[in-house]
Symmetry: C2
Subunit: 225 residues, 2 copies
């Protein structure tokens, strides 16, 4: 009889909520670092992001043992570890399609760059916008999308075009081999199984607030984001 190893190739499936919370821990640790904390307990980390200490420890335990019993977690080390888990300890090459209201706001946003998401390409179909300069980036013609996405080695695309054309653009983005898309259009897009698609849906949050108001929801924690 074989002696069982401690973790026999166990395929752990990490939940979406856990990943979202890692983002929160990362944010809190960044702040703690600025405040010159050396270590932090699960209790303090939980307090800062309105979670429970047990939740914090459980989440982290999926990825390893980063703390010291009796002391807590080393702030800088844990922050780096989470960055590595999330894959933000590197730079991602990002393109943005649709330089309209929301698109322009996103290009101007410096925090994304700081977190490793570097917008290096812009696309639009409006002749007045093509060729114009946004934060040092020249807007490309949407007709060259596939070719230029490949040439620029784009790994992630942000979609900020009208809902009516979003599916058409996505199809071309997929053709260019891009595997990750963040979509702002309020529409359910079809992508192949090997392409990751996330939707940013602001109406959904407004509608949740509306629901809470009319139903006098008892407020435990309405959101963790």
């Amino acid at each position: 009889m074989a002696i069982p190893t401690k973790k026999p190739d166990k395929k752990r499936r990490i939940s979406e909520s856990t990943i979202h919370r890692l983002s929160l821990y990362y944010r809190a640790l960044t702040l703690l670092e600025k405040e010159n904390y050396e270590t932090v307990s699960s209790k303090e980390l939980a307090r800062r992001e309105k979670l429970t200490p047990a939740q914090v420890r459980k989440d982290l335990s999926f990825f390893g043992s980063f703390g010291t019993r009796g002391l807590g977690y080393p702030v800088n080390e844990l922050k780096n570890k989470i960055a590595s888990i999330l894959g933000i300890d590197r730079t991602w090459r990002v393109a943005l399609v649709g330089v309209g209201n929301i698109g322009s706001a996103l290009v101007s946003y410096k925090e994304f760059m700081k977190q490793g998401f570097q917008i290096v390409k812009l696309f639009d179909n409006d002749q007045r916008k093509i060729g114009s300069n946004h934060k040092g980036i020249i807007v490309s013609d949407i007709n060259n999308l596939e070719k230029e996405l490949k040439e620029a080695g784009i790994e992630l695309v942000i979609l900020a075009v009208p809902a009516t054309v979003a599916q058409y653009i996505v199809d071309n983005v997929v053709k260019a081999g891009v595997k990750a898309i963040l979509n702002f259009a309020p529409v359910n897009l079809r992508v192949p199984d090997d392409v990751y698609l996330r939707n940013e849906n602001m109406s959904m949050e407004l509608e949740y607030l509306s629901f809470a108001l009319v139903n006098n929801l008892s407020q435990k924690r309405v959101n963790e984001g």
Copy 2:
């Protein structure tokens, strides 16, 4: 012994996910209506939003019986019913604080109005912006926030200010009696228990995509939003 009534004052707690899916059903039904569908099955509704038929039926059953066995759900009727559940069968008076990059984009967005969220007040602390006109609304001085929120009967506030001042603004919004806040700043804000706060966190979605890419997540459904 009392004969038990069928639903003896049962306090049903509706989950956050169910409410989010109601938003999706609403969106799908709006489209179905435009396409002149009279009725729709849970199967078709599920297909359009990448959910399961059982999920659709279960979600709706929390609020009543809206369908006809063998036929499906009446599109227009169900749409109205969901609007009523979500509280978007009316107009909400909304103020937006911080008329910067993202704030300007939100003011220009006509879809919110169509869904009953009517932005009627803008606030900023930048002298160059105060008094200026955005889509017919004059930007007010942040110093008059509490007073003007009350006067205008604002029920919901969208926060698009820098993270550093967000808590300060929220405190004043709460003082003005506003019970619902949608926050875009990447910071965990403190509000009293009777105030509903939701956060729109774009970094979180980008980081999820990053995690998916570096971990080659098996793709079932990465997002439902």
